[in-house]
C-alpha cells in the first residue's frame, strides 16, 4: 500500500496537452478500431513514471525517467534512462528494444539495458504523447511520455520561468523517510543560472511555508548523453537529473546525491506575465493525490474563481484510503476564498469550508491563468497535482463523445496501474467500451487486452461531478466507480469512489 504519487507524472500529459510478467492474456478480442500503427510512434520521446518495486520482499517507492527513440517500424533504436530504486540510482542505455502499436493506440514496449528487459503497456493519445504503465511482476508504475524537440537540447533554450511539482519520499525532521511534495517556481536564465526561486514543501503534513531556494541552484546539460536532452540540476535544494521534452517542459528525478530520498515530477514553462488576484478567473477542475496518516488519498473536484478572491460552486470527491468525503456534504454549504502573492510570481493560497465536513486548504503556483500546480496543506495530508481551466463551456453527451486514451493509477492491496483506450458514445446505456492492460503488482497479476464496458452519466451540472462506471467483461468481473470532472472536450480527470481502492485517472481524447 503506497501513497498515490502519480498525479504529477500522470497530469503532466494533461498539463502539456492543454498546455511481461507472467500474467493473463485473454483470447484475442475483436481487432481494435482506429488509425494508429507502429508508424505512429516515431521519433525521440521523453518519459517519466513512478510506482512501487519489490525490494527485500516488500513494496518500495521508485522512479524512472529517460528517453527512447522509436523508428516507426517497431524498433527502439536508442535511448537512456535514470532509475532511482531501493538500492540506489543508475543511468542505463537501451539496446535491442522493440514495441508494437495497435489500431486503437494501445501498444506494448520493451526496453532492454545491461540489467535485463523491462516491459510496458502504452496508450497513444496522439503521435506526440501518451500514457505508460510498467507491467513487470516486480514493478508497477505509471506515467507519461512526450515527443522531444531535439532543437531545444541546449542550455540557452531553457530560458523561462517554470513552475514545478515534485513528489515522492523525503526525510522529515526525525530523519524518517516519509511522503513529500514540493511545488514552486523559478526563472532559468539561459546560462545555467537560476533566480527568483520560490517553493513550498509538505513533508508528511509538515509545511515549510513559502521559501526562497537555498544557495546552489543551477541547471546544466550532461556531456555523456548529448543526444538525450539529459542534464542535472539543483532545484529547491534538491539534487536532480532531468530530461528536456522541449523548452516548455522538463522531467525530473532525484539524483544519487540525495539518495535514498526520491522525488519525481515535471517543470512547466510559466507564462511571462505578472500574476495577481485577477489572474484566477473562471471555472477550474483539479486532481491531486498523495498520502494521509491513514494511507493513500486522492481528491478531484472543481471550483469557480471570480477574479477578486472568492471561490464558489465548489464540488469535490475525496477518497482518503477508502473513506469518502464528497462536497458539498449532505446538508452542507461550501464557501471559499483565494489569494495570489503580492510578488506577482504566481504563488497563492486557496481555502474552502464545508459547513459539515470542515476546511480544505491548498497552495498553488500558476503556470498561466489556465493552469497551476496545486498542493493540499491540511494536517497530515501530503497531496499534490494540478488545476486546469474549464474552457469549453457546458459539457454535453455530444461534446464528450469520442475516443480516449486513459491512464489510471491507484492503490488497493498493492499498487494498481491501468492503461487503455475507450470509446464514449451518446447512447443512453452502455456508452463506454474499450480495452486495457493493467498491473496489480505481483506475480501473475499482469493482465492484457482486457475488454470492458461502462456508463458515463453526466451530472445535473456537468461542469461538476459526473459518474463513470467501468466493468471488465471477463469473469470474474470487476467494477470501478469514478467521479469524472470534465476539463474540456479533450480532457477528463477521474477519482475513484470505491471504498476498497484509491485511484486517480486521466482520459485524453484521441484524434
Amino acid at each position: 500500500m503506497k501513497r498515490l504519487i502519480l498525479c504529477s507524472t500522470l497530469l503532466a500529459a494533461a498539463f502539456g496537452g492543454a498546455c511481461g510478467g507472467g500474467g493473463s492474456t485473454l483470447p484475442p478480442p475483436p481487432p481494435p478500431v482506429g488509425n494508429f500503427s507502429n508508424a505512429s510512434l516515431k521519433g525521440q520521446y521523453a518519459f517519466s513514471m513512478s510506482g512501487t518495486e519489490l525490494c527485500a520482499g516488500t513494496g518500495s517507492f521508485f522512479g524512472r525517467i529517460g528517453t527512447f527513440t522509436a523508428d516507426g517500424n517497431g524498433n527502439i533504436t536508442g535511448g537512456v534512462e535514470d532509475v532511482n530504486v531501493c538500492t540506489g540510482t543508475s543511468t542505463l542505455a537501451f539496446t535491442n528494444s522493440n514495441y508494437s502499436i495497435q489500431a486503437d493506440g494501445r501498444g506494448i514496449l520493451s526496453l532492454t539495458n545491461n540489467t535485463g528487459t523491462t516491459n510496458y503497456s502504452i496508450a497513444l493519445s496522439t503521435i506526440s504523447q501518451g500514457s505508460i504503465v510498467q507491467t513487470d511482476s516486480t514493478v508497477a508504475a505509471g506515467g507519461s511520455f512526450q515527443i522531444q524537440d531535439i532543437s531545444t537540447f541546449s542550455i540557452t533554450k531553457i530560458a523561462s520561468g517554470y513552475v514545478f511539482d515534485f513528489s515522492g519520499e523525503g526525510f522529515d525532521a526525525s530523519h524518517n523517510l516519509v511522503q513529500q511534495s514540493i511545488i514552486g517556481r523559478f526563472d532559468a536564465d539561459g546560462g545555467g543560472g537560476i533566480k527568483n526561486g520560490l517553493f513550498d514543501s509538505n513533508t508528511a503534513g509538515v509545511l515549510s511555508g513559502q521559501l526562497v531556494f537555498p544557495n546552489g541552484a543551477f541547471y546544466q546539460l550532461d556531456g555523456a548523453f548529448p543526444q538525450s536532452g539529459r542534464g542535472t540540476a539543483n532545484i529547491a535544494g534538491k539534487n536532480l537529473t532531468f530530461y528536456i521534452v522541449d523548452s516548455t517542459r522538463l522531467k525530473f528525478l532525484s539524483s544519487n546525491l540525495d539518495f535514498p530520498e526520491a522525488l519525481v515530477g515535471d517543470a512547466i514553462a510559466q507564462q511571462n506575465i505578472s500574476f495577481d488576484i485577477s489572474s484566477l478567473n473562471g471555472g477550474f477542475v483539479f486532481l491531486i493525490g498523495g498520502g494521509s496518516m491513514a494511507g493513500p488519498i486522492a481528491t478531484a473536484g472543481r471550483f469557480t474563481a471570480d477574479g477578486a478572491g472568492n471561490l464558489t460552486s465548489i464540488v469535490l470527491d475525496e477518497n482518503n484510503n477508502g473513506r469518502q468525503t464528497p462536497l458539498p456534504s449532505s446538508g452542507g454549504t461550501v464557501t471559499g476564498s483565494y489569494t495570489v502573492d503580492a510578488n506577482q510570481f504566481g504563488g497563492g493560497t486557496a481555502t474552502w469550508t464545508d459547513s459539515v465536513s470542515g476546511t480544505f486548504s491548498f497552495i498553488f503556483y500558476l503556470a498561466s491563468p489556465t493552469k497551476a500546480v496545486f498542493q493540499e496543506t491540511d494536517g497530515n495530508i501530503t497531496s499534490d497535482g494540478s488545476f486546469l481551466a474549464q474552457t469549453s463551456g457546458q459539457p454535453t453527451a455530444s461534446s464528450i463523445a469520442g475516443n480516449y486514451a486513459f491512464n489510471w493509477s491507484g492503490v488497493s492491496t498493492g499498487e494498481d496501474d491501468f492503461v487503455g483506450q475507450m470509446a464514449v458514445t451518446t447512447a443512453a446505456t452502455t456508452n463506454v467500451t474499450g480495452s486495457m492492460d493493467f498491473n496489480l503488482f505481483g506475480l501473475g497479476k499482469q493482465f492484457f487486452n482486457y475488454p470492458f464496458t461502462g456508463l458515463l452519466t453526466l451530472g445535473t451540472d456537468p461542469t461538476g461531478r459526473n459518474a463513470l462506471m467501468v466493468t471488465t467483461t471477463p469473469s470474474p468481473q470487476t467494477t470501478y466507480k469514478f467521479s469524472a470532472y470534465v476539463v474540456d472536450s479533450n480532457t477528463t480527470l477521474l477519482v475513484g469512489v470505491d471504498t476498497n481502492r484509491v485511484i486517480v485517472g486521466l482520459d485524453t481524447r484521441q484524434p
Partner: protein, 162 residues
C-alpha cells in the same frame, strides 16, 4: 510583463528574503498555512496519544472496512477496539506476526472525521518486539518500504531488471 528581477516585484519583503538567501539557507517568504479550527481530515496529535492493552481478537490483513489495510480488533478491559495498522506487508517485512489470543500493547490515537472513529496505531508491541508504524507526526512509515533502510539494502534484494 512578469517581474524578471526583484526590482520589478515591488516586494521589499521578497527582496530582503532573497538577499538573505545569498548568505544562508532557504528563507521563508510566505508564512506556513495555519491549520483550520475545523479541519476536514484526521490530524495526529502526539499530546493526545493513548495506550491500548489487550489481546488480539482478530487480525485482518486487508480489511474491507476503510481505512484500507491491516486491522486488528483488540479486546481491552473496556471492550473491543478496532485498530488500523497500515500495510500488512510492512508487518511481514519486519517479521511482525500477529496471532489471535496474544497480548499486545499499542500506542496511538483514536481519531474521527465525522464518518466514524478508528484507532490509529503508531507503535505496536507484542512480547519483546516493538514496531513503529507511524512517525511522531502520524506519517505512515510503511510507504518508503525498504528504501527507508537508507541504502542498507544490498543489490541482490532489488528484484528483476532495472
Amino acid at each position: 510583463m512578469k517581474p524578471i528581477n526583484l526590482m520589478k516585484t515591488n516586494s521589499v519583503f521578497l527582496a530582503g528574503a532573497l538577499l538573505l538567501a545569498a548568505v544562508a539557507g532557504a528563507q521563508q517568504v510566505r508564512p506556513k498555512a495555519q491549520q483550520s479550527a475545523k479541519p476536514h481530515a484526521y490530524a495526529y496529535d502526539l499530546s493526545r496519544e493513548t495506550v491500548l492493552e489487550g489481546t488480539v481478537l482478530k487480525y485482518t490483513e486487508n480489511s474491507s472496512i476503510p481505512p484500507i489495510g491491516a486491522h486488528i480488533i483488540v479486546q481491552t478491559s473496556s471492550g473491543p477496539v478496532e485498530v488500523h495498522l497500515g500495510d500488512a506487508r510492512f508487518l511481514k517485512f519486519n517479521k511482525f506476526a500477529l496471532t489471535e489470543g496474544t497480548s499486545v500493547k499499542i500506542t496511538g490515537q483514536n481519531l474521527s472525521n465525522g464518518q466514524g472513529a478508528m484507532f490509529f496505531a503508531r507503535i505496536i508491541q507484542q512480547g519483546g518486539q516493538a514496531l513503529a508504524l507511524r512517525s511522531v507526526n502520524g506519517a505512515p512509515l510503511w510507504l518508503a518500504g525498504a528504501r527507508a533502510q537508507r541504502g542498507g539494502v544490498q543489490k541482490p534484494q532489488q528484484a528483476g531488471a532495472l
